[in-house]
Symmetry: C2
Subunit: 247 residues, 2 copies
Amino acid sequence: MARRSRSNPLALAILCLLQERERHPYDLVATLKNRHKHESIRLNYGSVYSVVDRLEADGLIEAVRSEQDGNRPPRTVYGLTESGKDELVDWLSTLLSTPRREYTHFTAALSLLPSLPPADAVALLRTRLAAIERQLAEDDAGEEFAGRELGLPRLFLIEAHYEHALRRTERDFVAALIDDIEHKDMEGIGLWTHFHESGFSVPPNALPPTNGVWRELDESVRERTGNRPGDDRFRGASSTQPLATPT
Amino acid sequence: MARRSRSNPLALAILCLLQERERHPYDLVATLKNRHKHESIRLNYGSVYSVVDRLEADGLIEAVRSEQDGNRPPRTVYGLTESGKDELVDWLSTLLSTPRREYTHFTAALSLLPSLPPADAVALLRTRLAAIERQLAEDDAGEEFAGRELGLPRLFLIEAHYEHALRRTERDFVAALIDDIEHKDMEGIGLWTHFHESGFSVPPNALPPTNGVWRELDESVRERTGNRPGDDRFRGASSTQPLATPT
DNA sequence: TGACGAATACTCGATTCAGAGTATTTGATA
DNA sequence: TATCAAATACTCTGAATCGAGTATTCGTCA
C-alpha cells in the first residue's frame, strides 16, 4: 500500500480518540474541542468527515454500528482497527522523534520584512509586541485557572506550556529586533532605509552589481554562474513581444 | 469584492518579488529558492502556477508580455498592479502586527503525548533532542558561512535567526520535559504510567468518575452539564443496531 | 560527435480542505 | 404554550494543494 499522506494531524488525533473507545464523528469533534485540542490541531467539520472517510478507506478505522435518535440523521460509530493502532504508534513516534521543518505565518512575514520601509516595520512590530505581552498575561491567568480551579495535571497541558515558552521567545526576539532596527544596529539597515527613501521599493536588485547582496549570494551558493532566472541580474535576453490577448 | 483567502504566504512572497520587477513564474521559483525563501515559505511548482492564476484573476498582478526562447514553452511575464501593491502592504502589515494561532506538527504531537507509554515517549524525545542539537550546530556553522564568507547582512537572515531562537527554546523544553517525565516530576505521571501498564491504552476515561480528569474539565469549562457527546462520560443512550452493510 | 545528466519550464489530476449551508431537537424565556 | 436561540449532526461545493510527469535544451566528457 502506498504510504499515507500524514499531512493532517487531525487524522492522528482521531486515531488517538478512537483508541480510547468507539465514537461517532460529532463526538470526535465535541471531545477534541472539550479537551482544547483544537488549539493545537486545526479542526473543522468538513475536515473531520473527509478525514474519517479516508481513514476508513485505508482500513485504519471501521464502522462498528449505526445509531439513530428519532428523526435525526443516523450516526455511524467508528472503532480503531489493528493497522490503525500500528499507524497511530508509528506516526506519533515519528512526529515526536524527528524534527521537521515547520512553516509559520510569522516566519514567512519576517522573511519578507525588507519589503516594507523600516519605520513602518518598527511600528507594526510594536503593535505585535503589545499583543504578545497581553497573550502572555492571559497564559499565566489560564494556567492558574487550570491548575488551581480544575486541578488539571500538567501532563495534559504540555502543549500549552510549550506554546507559552515559544511565545516568550517570540516576545524577546521581537523586542530585540525593534531595538536593532531603531538603533540601526544591524548590517544592511542603511541600504534598507536608503532604498525605501529613494523610492525604489526594493533593496537588492537596485544595488550596483558589485555591491549586490543577492548577486553575491547567488555566486557563492551556486556552483556555476550564468545569466539565468533566479540570478537577480537576469534580464531575459530572449525574444520579447507584447502580450496581445489576455486569457 | 469578497476578501481574498490569504492562507498561502507564497502568494505574498510572489507579490513582494513582483514589486521588485516583472518576472515569469519560473523566475519566481528560481529566485525564491536562490534567496532561501523556500525554507520559510512552502514552495512547489504546482502551487506557484495556481497561485499566480489566482492573483491574476483577482487583479493583483497582470501579464505584461510573453517571451519565447526557441522551441521552449512560452513564458508569461507578470507585473504588480496598483491593487496588488495595496494588498501586499496590507497583508504583510497584518501578518507582522497581529499574532495568529500557528499550528505545528510538533505541538500537535505533544498534545497527543499521553497516547504513548511514558517510557516510549522519553526514548523518542531523546532522539529528537539529539537531532535538535545537531541542527543547532549546523545553524551556527551556516551563520558563520553567510556572515563571513558571503558578507550577507543580518537584515536578510532575520527569519533564520528567529528559527534559531525557536530551536533553542525547543531544545530546552524537550530536555526539561524528558527530565520531568523520568523523575516523575509532573502531576499526572502516576496515572499515565498506571494506565499504560494496566493495559488500558488511554488514561482519562479509564478513571473512576470521581477522579476523572476530563470529567472535571468538562464540568468546569461548560456552563451546563448533561450526557452529551464530547463529555467523556457520554455513552449513547439512544437506540443501537448493528451495522448491516458497509458502504 | 553523441550520449547523458542537469536545468529549464511547465501541465495535470487526484486529493484534501475550508467553511457555508441545512435540518432537527432541546431548553429557556415570554 | 409559542417562540427563539443554541446545540446537534451532518452535507456539499468549490477552491487549494501536492507531487508526479513531460518535454526541451544546454553543457560536458568520453
